[in-house]
Symmetry: D2
Subunit: 251 residues, 4 copies
């Protein structure tokens, strides 16, 4: 992400701090679940809950040695807790963290985009009504074709933006799934209750069946929805730029 072109709140969603905070939250929730299952003693859970942290600098330092981001994180979190830290990541695999954490980030990004899109849609809709009688020219290949209304142009955009919003909403749902099913997704070393608990607390749906990872069709749908929205915005921007040309000066 290039800082100059990134909203601070979007940068925050994708920051290392956010990622590590989500991972830590997942680990603590997993320990809670194991504790309810009688696997982790309550004093250990208390230690984990009260002490566990994962600082960006420490993880980076360990990653320089391990060359594996999740391993470095688990080590950092464990050492912050002390002896009870050995329960961190119990029964889990890297993708349980990577993919569940990514789901939280994607949902956060979707929420930001949806809020912006709703606001834009409202503005365009209002302007469309305001200019429903404002005459202007419709062009074909840049050459004047027929008269139209400026409000009509805006209404076309408003309906398209509404479809973009609907696609983004569905995409938000489809990526809001978590996974704590362990290596190759078979629950061989992890009780399904752990996944259930972690996902419930994070307001994610548990993925129905997975391999080592959550299936990528979900992320593909998300990227498609974002890409189609971006294409709408680009189209609007190009048209506005044309209408602002020195020789046109319509807007």
């Amino acid at each position: 992400v290039i800082p100059r072109y990134t909203l601070p709140e979007m940068a925050a969603v994708w920051s290392d701090e956010s990622r590590l905070r989500h991972w830590l939250r997942i680990e603590i929730l997993a320990c809670e679940a194991w504790s309810r299952l009688g696997r982790i003693p309550s004093e250990d859970l208390d230690a984990i809950r009260s002490k566990a942290t994962a600082m960006v600098d420490r993880v980076a330092e360990l990653e320089a040695t391990t060359n594996h981001d999740v391993a470095a994180f688990v080590q950092a979190a464990a050492e912050s807790v002390g002896p009870a830290g050995r329960w961190i990541h119990f029964g889990m695999t890297s993708s349980d963290l990577l993919d569940t954490g990514l789901a939280i980030q994607l949902r956060g990004a979707a929420d930001l985009l949806l809020a912006k899109l709703e606001r834009l849609l409202a503005v365009v809709r209002d302007r469309a009504l305001e200019h429903r009688e404002t005459l202007c020219v419709a062009r074909t290949h840049g050459v004047h074709a027929e008269p139209t209304r400026f409000g009509h142009k805006l209404a076309v955009w408003a309906f398209e933006l509404a479809r973009d919003r609907d696609r983004l909403r569905r995409a938000r749902e489809v990526v809001s799934v978590g996974k704590v099913s362990g290596v190759v997704g078979t629950y061989a070393a992890v009780d399904p209750f752990v996944e259930e608990h972690v996902c419930r607390e994070l307001d994610l749906a548990p993925a129905e069946a997975t391999t080592q990872v959550i299936q990528r069709d979900r992320h593909a749908e998300f990227m498609s929805a974002v890409a189609i929205t971006a294409a709408t915005l680009e189209k609007i921007a190009i048209e506005i730029r044309h209408l602002a040309r020195t020789e046109v000066r319509e807007v």
Copy 2:
């Protein structure tokens, strides 16, 4: 489309014959609407209904001169009718035909894909249940990792195929829209009732607001849904090919 890799029924959806048949249907329905509005005399409508045809060869012949596919079609259809043929395309613009016809073709293609997908999904689901206890090995980077069940592998595919089907169903809806709003979409020369009638008879929704064309975000969503489905199928195919390697021979 490469004949060897195309299902005959899919080739039929995209054939020149189908396209011209849809265009003719749209023109006749538009004439019906104009007739109800009192604009086209009923004897002219009768002539149009009973005589209008548009043969591929004749259209190709005219297109060689006009260099414009819709103009060639309109001329061919008009001359097949005789004097009343002058009503063909009355008040309309090329994109009214092009985009409404395309909607019928895309819906037809979606129906074929959905039927195949439902069948595949049912087979994979059945096999998943059948092999729910069949042990096999899960691999990471092609190297044996952990035991899993063959039915588990299939279940992952089944759930993904079900999502693909849902995406295709929604994409089918979003492209099932027609447009008969004339040049630059302003209904300047065409009564909105014409669009309403044409779309109702073709079981399409009228596009809410358009420029000269139906907005392309609809087609982009369709292509995304098809592309994501294709990626699922490719993934399954690659895995099956691996399992069929001389050294593996699992399937």
Copy 3:
């Protein structure tokens, strides 16, 4: 290829007739080589040379049964010759035909593109000199920025077109390679002299080492060169369209 947007001479390069003609040429040249090696009797070679044909219709008919284009072609060619037809495709694999034939077609396409590009470059260069003092305005984001010369704009295009031409020339060379090395490229069933003879007669370089196919980096370079040229042409076309806008009318 869409007929309306395709030059007839480019369509001819890619027609089924051309493809089959190239394949037949390759087969006959291979038989010549085998004959010089003493493997094919001279009367058989005479029969092949004088009678071998491969008609599009007959190949299509056989392909409907075999479902394999090269197999259908070989059968059609063989039956056109009679008993000596059994030598057709002797020691060869499908890709020997497919890839060597494709090389001839790509070279043909490159020649057409290069001829057009040279002509365009000459025109733009002449106009650049003609308008070296014609004042016009340079725009940034469509808004007037600074005065420039129309000839300067054209000179920028001319130099870019010259680079496009150079890239296409190199791409033409890199795809002008043939292969007659048999299954998986090992010459197990075919003498290297066959490849040498076929390539020499077709003015292609023999590929240095291949698998079953000629390596695809060659085709990727070709497509890149075409794509970059197309981007230049699109840029020029968009600029000209802007300059022709109703409100601008500079060209």
Copy 4:
């Protein structure tokens, strides 16, 4: 760039420090040229040469206000010099820095890639000769087809890597061009000698004719060459992974 997957020397080419260092070099060289033309007094040039710096932190601080990277850099460089700093960026436009600096970075990246590629090519060539008689199996769709030599497989890769290297070398040349021609590339406010001097000292060719920017076909050729090389490497990596499968264990 993701640190874990980036060579330190490649990260250095693209660091903010490198970019600012190149920009400063360009500015100082431009001042030298202006001084030779008698436009900048020699004591001012001395001040610029001895004092000019552009620290990443200071530029970032200013950019937070100006929201324009080049403006922030010019201000930082000017204030580091004192009164004579007003000559920094004299007659120039942002793209003179951006594009000339980018050329230096692309050339640096190309040099690193070429060095790695040469080394890889040498290793693959040596192994190809070493294994010229090592029998192995060639597969079609993962199924055993015919015997081949492992050295043959490697030779195919070696020849392809050599073509990749040639493409990268040419791409290195085509991006090694600078531009100091001022707003919209007309030399209205800058003497062509400035461009000549800057480029000569940086060992870049001056771009023949430009708009505000250096033409992007150059960068497109560079990216194509990198992409085709990456495709070769991916192909080799996938093959090696296959050959390392638990059931295959050939390598």
